[in-house]
């Protein structure tokens, strides 16, 4: 098992290496390069020369890259151009809000997606199945930012039940504010993911239902509900775990848009602010952190998958 994990990490290394070069090169691809970003366009040659020496830009490119990589490993992502605060601190300040949103949205997605999949897989092709499949298609097709706007129109503008702009409050210290602020964003993000979950779980349930062991169970006279619960769902859960895990990772992308709808103070909003103010060290830092989270989630999914399914070889 440990060998398997190590091998998966080894396979990730070239991808991470190439990605890190891409992220590092970002600053150099911007017109004006790192100097232009910090000093602007109207800097004197002396200032430029001084900064070049200070930042070490007169050294060979390869050394500059590895120097940057080493500082990333030390947790040093540089200083934000605008606030002059360490990038990592700014990101860590916002991260809990995004994680809380992702967690709440996962729960919504499971609550909506799993029953839909099971009910439609009971009788594939029935009218109920078609209606529910239509619902999944709709959940996938409606852009999250429009759904969010509609939810605000209904619950904030018309019914005045929930706030239209969300704040972040930790769930454990201020649960009421946290829930009020989380319901709409979590619903917005969760509905989309529930569509993905429902589609995949239904497909994997239906394919399991045609297996021989199900026919055997049926010929033994087991009731349908028990076959579903004890046999089909158990086996269909394996591919499902992967999908849930991968969706957790894309949550980060969806969260950026959802946070913008509800002006929710998470990592996504930080990234958008950074792009709008051309705060490149902060942009770079956000992308590094998101990449690391994304890769870690995918790795964890692989490991859980291998752990749950003994058919996967660890060697």
């Amino acid at each position: 098992m440990i060998g398997y994990i190590l091998r998966r990490i080894l396979q990730l290394l070239p991808v991470l290496f190439l990605a890190s070069i891409g992220i590092w090169a970002m600053l150099y691809a911007v017109p004006g390069g790192p100097i232009g970003i910090i000093l602007g366009e109207n800097a004197s040659p002396e200032q430029i020369a001084a900064l070049r020496a200070e930042l070490g830009l007169d050294r060979p490119v390869v050394i500059q890259y590895f120097d940057w990589l080493a500082s990333v490993f030390r947790g040093d992502l540089g200083l934000s151009i605008h606030s002059r605060e360490p990038v990592l601190a700014l990101i860590l300040h916002r991260l809990p809000a995004t994680l809380q949103l992702a967690f709440a949205a996962t729960i919504v997605a499971m609550l909506l997606g799993v029953p839909v999949a099971i009910i439609s897989a009971m009788k594939p092709g029935s009218w109920l199945d078609r209606v529910l499949s239509g619902w999944s298609a709709l959940a996938l097709g409606v852009p999250t930012f429009w759904l969010g706007i509609l939810l605000i129109l209904l619950f904030a503008v018309n019914l005045r039940l929930l706030p239209s702009a969300s704040v972040y409050a930790p769930l454990w210290s201020d649960p009421i504010t946290a829930l009020k602020s989380l319901i709409l964003p979590a619903l917005t993000l969760g509905v989309y993911v529930s569509g993905v979950l429902a589609r995949f779980l239904r497909a994997s349930l239906v394919s399991e239902m045609n297996m021989d062991y199900v026919r055997t169970a049926r010929s033994k006279g087991l009731p349908e509900r028990q076959i579903m619960r004890a046999h089909i769902i158990r086996n269909a859960l394996l591919p499902f775990i992967t999908i849930v895990g991968l969706q957790m990772a894309t949550f980060i992308g969806g969260a950026v848009v959802t946070e913008a709808v509800f002006t929710y103070p998470g990592l996504g909003r930080l990234l958008i602010q950074a792009i709008n103010t051309r705060d490149y060290p902060l942009i770079q830092g956000c992308i590094v952190v998101i990449l690391v989270i994304y890769v870690l989630i995918n790795l964890t999914v692989d490991v859980i998958y291998a752990y749950v399914d003994p058919r996967i070889e660890y060697r």
Binding site: V15, L138, F145, L153, V261, I275, I287
Partner: protein, 288 residues
């Protein structure tokens, strides 16, 4: 297969199903109004300050925006932005991704390893974040939005074409061309590629739906096609600021966007079903 007959039969297959048929008709309507918008009595830029944020009326069927511009006119011209960006982005994705997949699958070895690692890197971030990172570097412009959305589509094409090449690579007709002295280029582009069109076509349609969503999302986040060019995402972004004053503002652009995305998705899934099962097409189009 005769390509014209193939097209007619595929189209008939799509039209024989209610979902794809409705979707095709809707997209045709959107594309036609967008293409001939200049001949319609509408102006997406004319400001009518008296009507600012007013609701639906005889002069503005779907109301007017914060500068008194006609919302319906801006939705129609916004369709142009969406469709043109989608078409351009899909073209960029195909032009880069298809040759990548062909070379990776055909030669295998180090070329495959290098190209597929590049694809992995492009997929190491969610598409929207990858596109945002690219726009952060290029600066915000119509071209940057197009290129960013296009590049996020490259991995899809590369992977699908590569998988298709791998299934065709050892087939008799490919080996035959090789043994007659056909060059690798000839084999890839004249033998394998023509046999991969249906997979590529499905990917084109599916990616169009994704590209339209991404373009709108970027505009909504304020990093897409810059104003004053009308765009659905930008309209939703502005509409969100006036939810209390003008609740109808975001409705029409949202409906247009959602229906367009759903239509491309429905057609894509219908196509996949038809093309994977050629008998289905034949049955729909009568005996061949």
């Amino acid at each position: 297969m005769n390509s014209l007959r193939f097209m007619v039969r595929t189209l008939r297959g799509l039209m024989s199903r209610p979902g794809p048929a409705l979707s095709l008709m809707y997209l045709a309507l959107v594309a036609l109004t967008a293409a001939f918008a200049d001949f319609l009595p509408i102006d997406p830029f004319k400001q009518d300050f008296v009507m600012m944020l007013e609701g639906p009326s005889a002069s503005h069927w779907f109301g007017a925006d914060e500068l008194g511009r006609d919302i319906l006119a801006r939705v129609i011209y916004g369709a142009r932005t969406s469709l043109v960006t989608a078409a351009g982005a899909v073209a960029i994705a195909a032009v880069i991704g298809v040759p990548m997949g062909l070379v990776a699958g055909f030669f295998g070895g180090w070329r495959d390893a290098v190209l597929m690692r590049i694809v992995d890197v492009m997929m190491a971030l969610p598409a929207i974040l990858f596109a945002m990172a690219l726009i952060a570097v290029f600066g915000r412009s119509q071209g940057a939005a197009l290129l960013a959305v296009g590049l996020t589509g490259v991995p899809g094409f590369a992977r699908i074409v590569r998988a298709q090449v791998l299934t065709l690579r050892r087939r008799d007709f490919v080996v035959a061309v090789e043994s007659f002295g056909g060059t690798s280029g000839y084999n890839m582009f004249r033998t394998i590629l023509p046999n991969s069109w249906s997979q590529i076509l499905v990917q084109v349609v599916v990616l169009s739906s994704v590209a339209i969503l991404l373009e709108a999302a970027l505009a909504f986040l304020g990093v897409g096609v810059p104003p004053p060019t009308p765009s659905w995402g930008e309209m939703l972004r502005t509409g969100k600021s006036y939810l209390y004053e003008a609740p109808y503002y975001a409705v029409l652009p949202g409906i247009a966007l959602t229906l367009t995305i759903l239509a491309f998705d429905t057609i894509g899934r219908g196509l996949a079903r038809i093309l994977e099962n050629p008998r289905d097409v034949a049955a729909a189009g009568g005996p061949v």
